[in-house]
Symmetry: C2
Amino acid sequence: MPNFLERVNEKREALTASEQKIIEQLEKHEKPFLLSMNELSSLSGVSEPSVVRLYRKLGYASYQELKVALAQEHAANGPSYSSDNNEIKESDKADVVFEKIGDQLSSAMMMTKEKLNVDQMEEAVGKIAKAARLFFFGQGLSGTIAEDGAHKFMRIGGTTLAVKDPHYQAIYASHMTEEDVVIAISHSGETVNIIEVVDMSKKSGATCIIITSNPNTTLAKMADILLLTQAQETENRSDAMVSRLVQLALIDTLYTRVVSVGDSDIKKAVNLSRLAVTRMKK
Amino acid sequence: MPNFLERVNEKREALTASEQKIIEQLEKHEKPFLLSMNELSSLSGVSEPSVVRLYRKLGYASYQELKVALAQEHAANGPSYSSDNNEIKESDKADVVFEKIGDQLSSAMMMTKEKLNVDQMEEAVGKIAKAARLFFFGQGLSGTIAEDGAHKFMRIGGTTLAVKDPHYQAIYASHMTEEDVVIAISHSGETVNIIEVVDMSKKSGATCIIITSNPNTTLAKMADILLLTQAQETENRSDAMVSRLVQLALIDTLYTRVVSVGDSDIKKAVNLSRLAVTRMKK
DNA sequence: AATATAATGTAGTTTACTTACAAAAAGTGG
DNA sequence: CCACTTTTTGTAAGTAAACTACATTATATT
């Protein structure tokens, strides 16, 4: 069932002057679904039957139906953004905490999606698909993200490593070539070791993809390809948790795309990996 | 503004017999927001003024307002469930893939939230807070979740370990006491090694908290405390990715709660850990 | 300019919503 | 257990909203 605006667009040619006046009112009004037909018609400066003819033309059976449709569409677009008061309190029981994390997460996913540059993402996908070796660098909690990422990309058959130890990172970084790709992960963007290691990797000629939450950091500025995960601006303790989940989803996206664009070799490799894992169960 | 069901619950004591009949109809009807007052009252077998008195009591200014509220709440709950066409296609570019993962994720979070048993969660929190040692067991991708969890709980100062190697898991499991707590993670719930290790841990007297997506599995049935992450029933390749994110959010919830209910020692420990990590940056 | 066609409005009808008040039911104190 | 109060429910009438039939005006066509 098409929504209100789609219906309007479909019939745009066939709309009369007074019908357009009515639509204008419906679009400008904050709560159009609370207007009576009388109010709407006088606001628009037209007669009531004109309103009737309009909603008929748009395919609604009654004025009530139009109002219900408007109400539902307003509900669907509105509240998800207005994360009114999601801060987690000590008194919140587990179910409330989980719900609030969920709300923060979906708002962070939405913000990230809006800032996401498709071309950059696809460029990253291309580089990864062609890479001779793929390195995930991360420390602390970002280290577990690195490992998760490596675990996934391992399945496409190439050489993929998660490196969490700064010394190991440094050694790998100093021996890279133009064919290598580094994915460096840091929530803060200011982890000293990671900055150094990315610097070394770049000097060795590797492509550096940076995943971080903050664009105004040393690490972000060094990126060949920068993938930003936007979280809320607050300094809640839960921000780090949420941004980590978004980063994982971002890496999932990269992986899904690499498999999609990959040649038949990659797809064979993925299937082989799945079989291998299945043998470990049952 | 509380939603319809919250309002009903708040006034539950004060509801008369005919008011309950009306509510019953509103809950059972598929599209209650399209009913006229006349239809609703005759369906419920009461008079129209009884309907008026009910919505007044619930805090709505007019029957229209009640209908609009119901329509909006149906819109908010409805479509996110019916994940109409979230399946990721090979032709989807990175931004679309990310968006679909986001949609699947929030629907999975919602489903998990509904199945979530607060008491079980809080019981788990209590056990963890008092545990002498806390073990995270997981293999493969669930292993990285285990590590992530251990990384977090490490900060509260106790003995916390992520064990991914089945041999190590077996050794630890055979030397546990009643004071120990095991958190075992498995997406499928049928990973042979994990099942064996949980069995050993239980025989040693440890409390076993199981995090899995499937309630009808050997592992789920062994749980002292079972925490289910509901994903969609489909066998999409993305299900595992999504359920892993939900599992992480679940562990975040446990952690947040443990810190909240924890005594001053735990809070001191968390602050110490934060200082320690900060020293590693800048 | 005459006629056809489309657009809009007037006035009235029907339906939906609301109110005032009365009847019935359920408690309460003597 | 009866007179009285309070609560619950319904009847009937009023008001406002939604809809319809038809008249009027505007626009286009020949």
